[in-house]
Amino acid sequence: MSALLEILFSASFLAAAVRIASPLIFATMGELICERAGVLNLGIEGIMVIGAFTGWMAVYQGMPLWGGVGVAMGAGMLFGLLHAVLTVPYGLSQHVVGLGVTLLATSTSSFAYRLMLPEVTSPPKIEPFQPYEIPFLSDLPLIGEALFSQTPMTYGAFAVAGLTAWVLFRTPLGLAIRAAGESPAAVEAQGLSVTGLRIGAVIVGSGLMAVGGAFLTLSAFSSFFFEMVNGRGWICIALVVFGAWRPGKAVLGALLFAGFDALQIRLQQTPIGAHLPYQVFLMAPYVLSILALILMSRRAEVPAALMVPYNKGER
């Protein structure tokens, strides 16, 4: 027990949790924006992969790191556009299109990677983002290392979360987006285009998802390998539900899950942990995601028009 407390209150554990949460925060904000507008984006897993790949490849080809992030965002927005066009004006099943986009984005990444690096056996590395210690704040005990000695992309993740909350709840645009997901007819009555709002939300959201993927290759690991996203996209879908479609709670959820992930490696080295097979620890994030979904599904905070295609003029 004391071993557990020792781990929980160590700076390295808290720092790891914040680091692991960063890609989740980007992708969860992206999915949250899509769902608030009324579109379930199951392409999130594949878009994270294409973000990871394009961001990495851009830097590998010589672009600066932030340029890579921009390229990743662009790739995500392209796939978001594909998803949006098929689901919003054409009203195709959001489930099937999302899965199709995930499959397409993932396979495009693998195809392009193999094409551009045919003879490679071990994945080549790039120079990733280095941690930037915020002066004075990073000298604080415990949280100094955890919150203020992270890479720039982590700071970006929290900034994006704050920006998402501000835009959604404090601007007319955000109100329109939320209304598109709650009662599209009211939006049309105001003279705004539900189709335009939804397409825009999905494009922006997908861009953020891709940036989350790019975090994995440009900030966390420094090379791209297949299977690196490993279900994070699906966990983010659960995080949106867990956060009741609110950015603040979703960020807390991401930190909680990242905490469990950071914990499992450390727990394996404790006396109790050594007795359990390591797979049990690796299962924890997925099991927790399912539990989170069950817990939160009873609340009636789902955007009312989520997954309901909007046909102008239809009653």
Partner: protein, 347 residues
């Protein structure tokens, strides 16, 4: 832009748009080949040759199609009832585990086959039952729960193969002990690699077709899929129908894993399934959710994979072209199905 339903779509419309979708896929394949620096017609020709160009290739295609028929049926049955079973992968591994557990020779042939298959179906059904109960009881969307179960199941299999089910003579590689010879599915024709799993898959497709077209359950599944509220209003036991659908779907997916272990591989390892559960979704959609169409679509998809493997060795285009093509085929097909039923109207 508005979508207007077409009152009685003509046969030309119903078949023409899907045909256009396949054409679009072929065109995209050529473009991808060009991007990869290969000659488009030659590449397509190599894929075709690799799929059916020789007896060996054709048998390989049939073998590869077997699990896809099972998972395609599983997904088609579920999707028709609007049950989004994305967890066929986990159900597949459940069936595979049962095949190994019952392959120790404790039960002799030929009894072992129906017993093992039935238990495998039960295992797969139970795996899907959890998410479906969560859906009916708590309203939890089954897409994410079935998906997450795939990851959990894979980790569980990894634990089994490194622990209780580990093959002591496997030289450290995580795989299970081999099934005894009596528990191995026999070959369809002596001397060929094709095993009875393929035959069972065809039988399964026929059985599903009969269920869907000739039984009350089939009617109820279709009704629930098309309009849940109306079905409930008509007095159908909607939750019971969903559960029965789950049992059937999960069982079929489990048979994919069961037949791969009992027929093809003879043991369980972590690389048993290169995503058959997910590819089953593509197979089901390409087949327009029709069970007999699933057989055709599975053969088509298997051919693309087998052909691309062989083409990639010859022409150097990465094998992932197959995955890209199938993802595109899925999207094109979904669009085509909608266009065959609706008219796009300006305004």
């Amino acid at each position: 832009m508005r979508l207007e339903p077409v009152a009685n779509p003509s046969l030309l419309r119903k078949l023409g748009f899907p045909a256009l979708a396949l054409l679009a896929t072929v065109v995209t394949a050529s473009v991808l080949a060009l991007i990869a620096g290969a000659e488009p017609f030659g590449t397509l020709g190599l894929i075709l040759k690799g799929a059916v160009g020789s007896k060996f290739a054709a048998l390989e295609t049939l073998n590869r199609a077997t699990p896809l028929i099972f998972t395609g049926l599983a997904v088609a049955v579920a999707f028709r009832a609007k049950l989004w079973n994305i967890g066929a992968e986990a159900q597949l591994y459940a069936g595979a585990i049962v095949a190994v557990l019952l392959g120790t020779g404790a039960i002799g042939a030929p009894l072992v086959f129906p017993v093992s298959a039935a238990l495998a179906m039960l295992a797969g059904a139970l795996i899907l039952l959890g998410p479906v109960v969560l859906k009916t009881r708590f309203g939890v969307d089954e897409v994410v729960t079935t998906l997450l179960l795939n990851f959990i199941m894979l980790l569980f299999v990894s634990y089994l193969l490194e622990g209780p089910m580990k093959d002591p003579m496997g030289m450290g590689w995580p795989k299970s002990e081999a099934l005894v010879k009596e528990a191995r599915l026999p070959r369809l024709v002596d001397g060929l690699r094709l095993h009875w799993g393929f035959g069972l898959a065809l039988i399964a497709a026929a059985v599903v077709w009969v269920i869907q077209t000739r039984t009350t359950l089939g009617f109820e599944m279709r009704a629930v899929g098309q309009n849940l509220a109306a079905a409930r209003f008509a007095g159908m036991p909607v939750n019971a129908v969903l559960i029965k659908t789950a049992l059937l779907s999960g069982g079929l997916a489990a048979l994919a894993g069961w037949s791969e272990v009992s027929g093809l591989k003879g043991h369980l390892s972590l690389d048993l399934s290169p995503g058959f559960g997910y590819i089953g979704i593509i197979v089901a959609m390409l087949a327009l959710l029709h069970p007999l169409g699933v057989v055709v679509a599975a053969l088509f998809v298997a051919g693309i994979f087998v052909g691309s493997d062989s083409m990639s060795r010859a022409a150097g285009v990465p094998t992932y072209i197959a995955d890209m093509l199938l993802a595109l085929a899925l999207l094109f097909m979904v669009l085509a199905i909608m266009l065959s039923r609706f008219r796009v109207v300006r305004g």
